[in-house]
Amino acid sequence: MTLTHEAPATTAATVESLTLAGAVNHALADALAADPSVVVFGEDVGVLGGVFRVTDGLAARFGEARVFDTPLAESGIVGAAVGMAMNGMRPVVELQFDAFAYPAFEQVVSHVAKMGNRTRGALRMSMVIRIPYGGGIGGVEHHCDSSEAYYAHTPGLTVIAPSTPQDAYSMLRAAIESPDPVVFLEHKKLYWAKGPVDSVRRVGLGRAVVAREGTDATLVAYGASVLTALEAAEVAAAEGRSLQVVDIRSLAPLDDATIEAAVRSTGRAVVIAEAPGSVSVAAELAARIGERCFEYLEAPVRRVTGFDVPFAPPKLERYYLPDVDRILDAVDSLNWDDR
């Protein structure tokens, strides 16, 4: 699969075809090279290069002082990153899988998110917490959670979930440069999908993008669900229905302007996400669209999300995950008789 939102704009010299994992690797390398205060640490990120090889080669290139393994302690990793950020470093930490970020929850919610506010900006938490998340890879329990709601609900955090290698590269660079703490969610299913990456291109945090133009209804998604949405739009197009796809990319803050404009232009919306739907980012999107586009809506905003159950075991995940058919069913339910 190839992943891009648009044709790269700059010269061929800076453009490479990379997997999303490769794009993250490049972003880390370029950030390490650009700024001596950037440090990368976590479990197995050193000599092994991470269990997904995202940090491959970085320890060798930048040395063990800047790219290193820690003791196996996630609260420790994040808590130490807080202290490092207090002392002028820009830590980029990896938590190995979604569910293994939970031990760090107190540090994330009580300190990472609040230290800047607490100190009136004197101690900003300029740090990135990278979390491989999501399912669709046949992973066993605790390896496939979509945990973004926990972070997106927490004031003070910026939460990013790119769906293309370009966004992964550009938004990770922006995340590392951000004065604020960023939870950077990398969808595991996308790790090996390739796309062009222009290392000169900058993508700011907090901005959604229209990944496909369309006029009949708007699919709002992020992470791997963007691909499913794009596929659904392709199928729908063949059936004569024009679906717009918005990749929100930034889960917190949400880019209300882009989302609002998109939904207003079609008058119908389906929100797609892998996480259980209740009290989720998808719920927030549905609520906001309802609040901000009420007069424009021809039909209720539908959600196509994971069920409100723990993530499925490998052999059942295809039933759990939002798929093209389920999206199209939701689209079909959007009061088309009115037209």
Binding site: E43, D44, G46, V47, L48, G49, V51, D69, T70, P71, L72, A73, E74, S75, G76, A99, F100, Y102, P103, G138, V140, E141, H142, H143, S278, F307, D308, V309, P310, A312, P313, P314, K315, L316, Y319, Y320, D325, R326, D329
Partner: protein
């Protein structure tokens, strides 16, 4: 240094009964277990090794999604399960499938997790085995709570809680050992120190002389034992279990061992360790060591060996057969156990999925009718 300190600190060398060639050493801290138990342990070791090999093969054949093998660590696995009574409980990790099987769980049920059918495949109550824990060190707290419940009811249940060297760095390790010590609970914490947490070596987990040195900080004894010496492990575990059963409280046992395979099949251990180091540990194989000893003691006849091998083969065959059959779990399972009673929301969601499945089945049916029709033409 206080008198009691020396009682809680581990000895300068790990407890060891057998040398690499299976010769008995001059170990005086514990009594050597009886030959009959060593024979039983040997049988269990051979079966455990065979299961490890079989499962690795099943991964290669795509029958198991993943298998974190305890190849090389089987003595720890066996010694975790053997000293327990039926009413006791074991709290294993993802790496401890053969210890789980050692408690009587049918091998195929122990593989349900790794096969991808469900998150756990056996009835914990039936076998006194908690589900294998994936989030590191979390199960140590469950073990403490379980033992606490037993203590409150005046039961003499003993709990063995397992974890790896890496897991000792987690906060839950600390909280569990401390809880168990403060409440004097009947938990034996067995740390399999295999030198690595995936790629991260022990030196990144601790600067202490040993992991067993942590015990004194909780006020419990810490013991180091050769993790490839089944006799030593059994002696130490029996003492710790007896102590716990008698109300003496928890013990921390650190077993020095080595994982011969990569972390899982998904791992590439050539990135982080020398082949020479692996070979050194292959030479310290716990099976061979115990076998040599039993042979020297004339406690393992060729016939017995054959019989044990046959038993191991039978277990492997059973496992193979069980996993050959393609089992497709029921999608409704997703909704069955989230709550004791399904919520209206889950009913709605299942209804939606059921409807999708019905439509899929219909269109498949239509397609196949169409295909038949085409064929017939």
């Amino acid at each position: 240094m206080a008198h009691e300190d020396s009682e809680l600190l581990p000895g300068e060398t790990p407890v060891r009964f057998l040398d690499q060639d299976g010769r008995a050493l001059d170990e005086t801290r514990y009594p050597m277990p009886p030959l009959s138990e060593l024979q039983a342990a040997y049988r269990a070791l051979v079966v455990a090794r065979r299961i490890n090999e079989q499962c690795s093969a099943l991964v290669r054949q795509g029958r198991l999604a993943v298998y974190p093998s305890s190849h090389g660590q089987e003595a720890c696995e066996v010694a975790a399960a053997l000293p327990l009574a039926e009413r006791d409980w074991l709290f294993p990790t993802y790496r401890d499938a053969v210890a789980v099987i050692g408690r009587g769980v049918p091998p195929a049920e122990a593989m349900v997790l790794l096969q991808g059918d469900w998150h756990s495949g056996y009835d914990p109550r039936e076998h006194g085995v908690a589900p294998q824990a994936t989030p590191l060190a979390t199960q140590l707290l469950h073990a403490a709570g379980f033992a606490h419940a037993a203590k409150l009811r005046g039961e003499d249940t003993v709990v063995v809680a397992m974890c790896g060297d890496g897991a000792t760095s987690e906060g839950d390790f600390h909280e569990a050992l401390n809880l168990a010590a403060v409440f004097g609970l009947a938990v034996v914490f067995l740390v399999q120190n295999n030198g690595f947490a995936i790629s991260v070596p022990l030196s990144r987990q601790t600067a202490a002389a040993s992991l067993a040195h942590k015990a004194i900080g909780y006020g419990m004894p810490g013991v180091r034992v050769d993790g490839n010496d089944a006799a030593a492990l059994l002696a130490v575990m029996h003492a710790a279990v007896d102590r716990a059963r008698a109300g003496g409280g928890p013990t921390l046992v650190e077993a020095h061992t080595y994982r011969i395979q990569a972390h899982t099949n998904a791992d590439d251990d050539t990135r982080y360790r020398d082949r020479a180091e692996v070979q050194e540990w292959v030479a310290r194989d716990p099976l061979i060591r115990l076998r040599s000893y039993l042979r020297v003691c004339d406690a393992l006849s060729a016939a017995a060996e054959d019989e044990i091998t046959a038993e191991a083969e039978a277990v492997a065959a059973e496992l193979r057969d069980a996993l050959q059959a393609e089992h497709v779990p029921d999608p409704e399972d997703l909704f069955r156990h989230v709550y004791a009673e399904r919520t209206p929301r889950l009913e709605e969601q299942w209804a939606m999925l059921a409807d999708e499945l019905a439509r899929d089945a219909e269109s498949e049916h239509a397609e196949s009718e169409h295909a038949e029709h085409e064929e017939a033409r």
